[in-house]
Amino acid sequence: MRYESLIDALGHTPLVGLPRLSPTPEVRIWAKLEDRNPTGSIKDRPALWMVEQAEKDGRLTPGCTILEPTSGNTGISLAMAAKLKGYKIICVMPENTSSERRQLLRMWGAEIISSPAAGGSNEAVRVAKGLAAEHPDWVMLYQYGNEANARAHYETTGPELLEDLPTITHFVAGLGTTGTLMGTGRFLREHVPDVKIVAAEPRYGELVYGLRNVDEGFVPELYDPTVLTTRFSVGSHDALRRTRELLESEGIFAGISTGAVLHAALGMAAKAVKAGERADIAFVVADGGWKYLSTGAYEGTLEEAEARIDGQLWA
């Protein structure tokens, strides 16, 4: 396929079957390979849509500085777009994120401001909001509340899935900003009767939940629970186990959050088998494993890997 520029190569990612992990010929699992996007993650979709919407609205003009709280992938996508379009970019990132993500951000020209590890992305959001108030000329696209994030998936991810898999019964994805699930979920609900929209939320080590009190929690403004059928919390043990299983059985080298999503997808598959129902379950491979090699997630026993990523933001 030929494209005018890297940005134009966004989306239209492959949907591949998992013949070995699918439990029966009637209950099939399909992986949407979002690592095949320009910077290697699903976040290219919302990042480009948020940038282009801000340009249309006149919020972003040449020479502007973009500010964004991010655990990595959104920042990397924004940094690539910013480089090609001539913006400066500052990312606020929790300090417990992998070094590959930091190196990539800097390569694409982003400045990184670290936020404390305890509290994870909640702290990054808080720090970024403070900086935005101090620097009104900086443009915070704010992925957690930017409607263009969910719309990117409503307009692209959803239609691509339906075109490739008209018999889709389930969509399973990771829950972070909630943009993927809200946008894709709304599109599929409008077109597929009784489609099930399932969220897999990473459950990190205790450090990440180190808030001062429960009233400091965070729910993204984009989140609308009525779009979802259900929501699972998946711990690092299951996420790592499934990440390895995906590579072992199907040859797909994915990031750790994908293991969490696959875990939920396999759970839904088992339920369908038990109920004697047919199912075509599509799940999102948000990124490849490359950016997480230094965490030690792919080496040694599962228990060793689990101990190494404890306290890391692995999704």
């Binding site: 991010t70 655990s71 990771g174 939320e201 939940y209 808030l211 629970p225 979802l228 699972f232 919390s233």
Partner: protein, 90 residues
């Protein structure tokens, strides 16, 4: 047998530092009331007059109870309930 309830770091001041406590009840609501007897104040940190607090997530065997039945979700011996504060991703 009882129901195991995993407590997040920020609420362990109410459980004497315990990471997990045990309780009983037929529903989540009853379970939280039972826990409150042994750990006074715990229920009020999880539930307000409108139900589960906004920034508190509760999972029954890893599934979000808001999609099961909220406080009326049925629980039984051997189940694991996990309480976590809501955090951002992305």
């Amino acid at each position: 047998m009882a129901i195991e309830v995993r407590i997040p770091t920020i609420l362990r001041n109410l459980t004497g530092g315990a990471k997990a406590v045990e309780g009983k009840g037929a529903t989540l609501d009853e379970l939280f009331t039972d826990l409150d007897a042994a750990h006074p104040g715990l229920r009020a940190r999880l539930v307000d007059e409108k139900g589960l607090r906004r920034f508190v997530n509760v999972y029954l065997n890893d599934e979000d109870v808001r999609f099961l039945g909220g406080l009326t979700t049925e629980v039984s011996d051997g189940d694991t309930v996990t309480v976590l504060p809501a955090v951002a991703g992305g």
